[in-house]
């Protein structure tokens, strides 16, 4: 870029920046905590919405430190990382040698500037079983609303935040950013395809102060859904029907920008159009967490995201939403677990969700509902392996739903074998309503559905030795700032008793 940031490097290799604008415009983040480690993240972007984030192509040294206290008197780890142009000047440090279940504070320094301070927390020791709090969020369309829900996520001080997909949307952001009424460069007006465009879209979202605060408040464990690449993509199939070779380049670009901007380990770094996002994280003996990727390995949708009756494709026994390898890994992981709560963090609804009045079914076919055999294999295995306290956490729907899970949804007299909590969107869909026609139908037609709501918000959970508590936090408005958060409903799962009910 002309004129933006010519760093001057002297003979000793010390950089003298002539661009004095703030570097840490996109905040800090941490993620994927282990008992002794956590990934810390930042990006240098003096012009976050400019080409290359306002940086030139030189590598910049970034010092980092991790302390036990917010004033950094007790620093326990420090080092220097390198922010490289080929990674959009993002920094990922896998900080090791930490103590379990402790809060830590971290910050970065580059070119004489110091980043905001982030707070994180390591996972509990393998043998410990503390109570754990987690926030669960998804779907944050920038143009549909303000991220007010994250203010509440921060206020309630969760140990970890799970983000289940649609962190960005690939469609254009207009010149006034929808309801935000904020000037956005014309470069953001179109759908994104290239790596620079995906990078810029993450930068735009990450300029939001509420999102930055939520990242700075707790470690995040993330997975992606469709809009991080393209609405309704499935495996190598594009919604637009473009050639597979071209779509795989787009997918690689989406994955690359995703990894660059998320607090993920190198294990999750994509190899071109392939990324390994399914992974296993433990919270001591309190919870085993299996994070899934139900997009990359799925068979194509029977239709593009529609609600339809089951057909011969959707009930094809060979059909899969996880791919065979991920399915085997999941069932194996669940079978080996010795934790009290066995949590699957994933994208799309697993419980049968019929919205058609009467005996016929009309189901959301881009969810597990369109992959009946996949769901049967997983839920049957949960039953057969006697998986303890099976809880599925889901996003995507822009609505809150709480359901019992059973192998045969058609027979309410069969025992529940687990619970699904679908978190609503942070902003996608604008303000929403308490109940719409679909929501009312879900309650009426599905005996296993215990709760629904179509407002914006997130799920605030607490897991302990006796109970899982899910508070459905909703925000009264998101199309203007200053909305108020409250608990719309609290549902619980009791230890050893599959299924959920209102508290």
């Amino acid at each position: 870029m002309s004129g933006n940031l010519p760093d001057l490097v002297d003979a000793a290799g010390i950089s003298h920046r002539t661009d004095k604008r703030p570097l840490f415009t996109l905040g800090v983040a941490s993620g994927d905590p282990l008992p002794d480690a956590v990934v810390i993240w930042t990006r240098l972007a003096p012009g976050p919405l400019e080409p290359f984030g306002g940086m030139d192509d030189r590598t910049v040294d970034v010092e980092w430190e991790v302390a036990e206290d917010a004033t950094f008197r007790r620093v326990v780890r420090r080092g220097t990382a390198h922010a490289r142009a080929e990674y959009a000047h993002t920094v990922h440090v896998d900080v090791r040698g930490l103590r379990p279940w402790r809060h830590y504070f971290y910050r970065f320094r580059a070119a004489g500037q110091i980043s905001p301070v982030g707070r994180t927390r390591t996972a509990p020791a393998p043998s410990d079983e503390p109570a754990v709090t987690m926030a669960v969020a998804s779907c944050q369309a920038f143009y549909d609303g303000f991220y007010t829900a994250y203010q509440d996520v921060v206020r309630r001080e969760h140990d970890v935040v799970l983000f289940l997909g649609d962190y960005i949307y690939e469609v254009g952001v207009g010149p006034t950013a929808g309801v935000r009424n904020q000037a956005v460069p014309v470069d953001f007006a179109g759908e994104i395809f290239t790596l620079d465009e995906y990078r810029a879209r993450y930068a735009l979202h990450k300029t939001d102060p509420d999102l930055q605060a939520a990242h700075a408040a707790a470690p995040w464990i993330v997975t992606l859904d469709d809009h991080e690449v393209e609405g309704n993509w499935a495996g190598y199939v594009s919604e637009d029907g473009i050639p597979h070779d071209d779509f795989l380049v787009r997918r690689a670009n989406g994955f690359r920008a995703y990894w660059e901007h998320m607090p993920l380990r190198l294990d999750q770094s994509p190899d071109g159009p392939s990324i390994r996002l399914h992974r296993h994280l433990r919270y001591g003996r309190t919870a085993d967490l299996s994070v899934l990727d139900t997009r990359q390995f799925r068979d194509d949708q029977t239709s593009t995201g529609g609600w339809l009756p089951p057909d011969e494709v959707s009930i094809d026994p060979a059909r899969t939403i996880t791919g065979d390898a991920q399915e085997r890994w999941l069932l194996d992981t669940l079978g080996r677990s010795t934790s009290r709560w066995n949590v699957v963090a994933q994208q799309v609804a697993m419980a049968q969700l019929d919205r058609k009045t009467g005996p016929e079914l009309e189901l959301p076919m881009d969810t597990w509902n369109g992959y009946a055999a996949s769901r049967d294999r997983v839920l049957s295995s949960v039953r057969d392996q006697d998986v303890r306290n099976f809880v599925v956490l889901t996003g995507d729907l822009h609505r809150s739903v709480a359901s019992d899970l059973r192998v045969n949804f058609a027979d309410p007299s069969t025992p529940a074998i687990g619970t699904e909590f679908v978190t609503t969107s942070i902003s996608s869909g604008k303000d929403g309503v308490d109940a719409d026609a679909t929501g009312r139908a879900l309650l009426a037609e599905n005996p296993h559905v215990k709760y629904q709501n179509v407002q914006r918000g997130y799920l605030s959970c607490r897991l302990d030795r006796t109970q899982w508590t899910s508070e459905f936090r909703i925000v009264d408005r998101v199309v203007t700032p200053g909305g108020t958060a409250s608990t719309r409903a609290t549902l619980v799962v009791e230890d050893g008793r599959p299924g959920t009910h209102l508290a």
Binding site: D57, E65, D94, G97, R107, G174, D196, V249, R256
Partner: protein
Amino acid sequence: MLRRFTLVAVPLTLLVPAVAVATGNNHLEISATPQPVEVVPLPCFPAGRLTLGMTNTGRKPTIADMRVSGDAALTLSRHQFSSYLPVDQLVKAPLEITVPRGTAPATHTVDLTVGKESLHVPVVIKPVPARDDVLLGEQAVASSTNGNMRLCGGVDGNADSAQWGASGWHDNTKGVFPDTYGVDFVQPTTIGRVVLQTLDSTTYPAAVMGIRDFDLQVRTGTGPWTTIQEVRANTTGRVTITFEPRAVEAVQLVIHDSNDHGYSRIVELEAYSN
């Protein structure tokens, strides 16, 4: 302030690049078509479109960052084109070049650089051509524009509904009417016939997806809008409205409903002197 960092040996793992980078290698071909690229100094004229390309001729996939720059006279739609590059696969991205109205015919250059490779693309500024359709290429004005559509899409000379996605316009307020779409002229212009092409393809017939109720309005001087004609319950793709020719400052459609009651879809709006 941070206290001074001391040198201590710590068991840290820094994440390192997993993919080789293209900077400085010779295994990358830059392309651009067409050459030269022609630009017409009108805000919505369908010219100045360049397809940028990168091809990885090495043996391993790579990530490449192209810098795009041009003479000060040129406005570029992008200054960066970065992508994953598989081996031997042309990866493309569009670049749109515009120049201010009144820019004199001349030849300029757009420079494309990846590492040590670079390509200099000639850009030829053309004179404004004679036009029967006086809206063609002029500045479109709309109440809103959907993020996946182009504001200029309704005055870009392409009235083919089959190319609707790439070359049409619709608003960004689904189910909310009225919507407006039109052109502000830079000088009084005589019109006596307006032709609307709303969406009308085999997949999306006008009776299902086209504009249903709309008013044609013109403005003279700084006065208020004058309604020339009200059209109601339209189900056809192409609507022609003829009237006594007059010199106007602006023309617009005020759309009150479409046949799906969702978006106002205009493939092309044209105006002629008679």
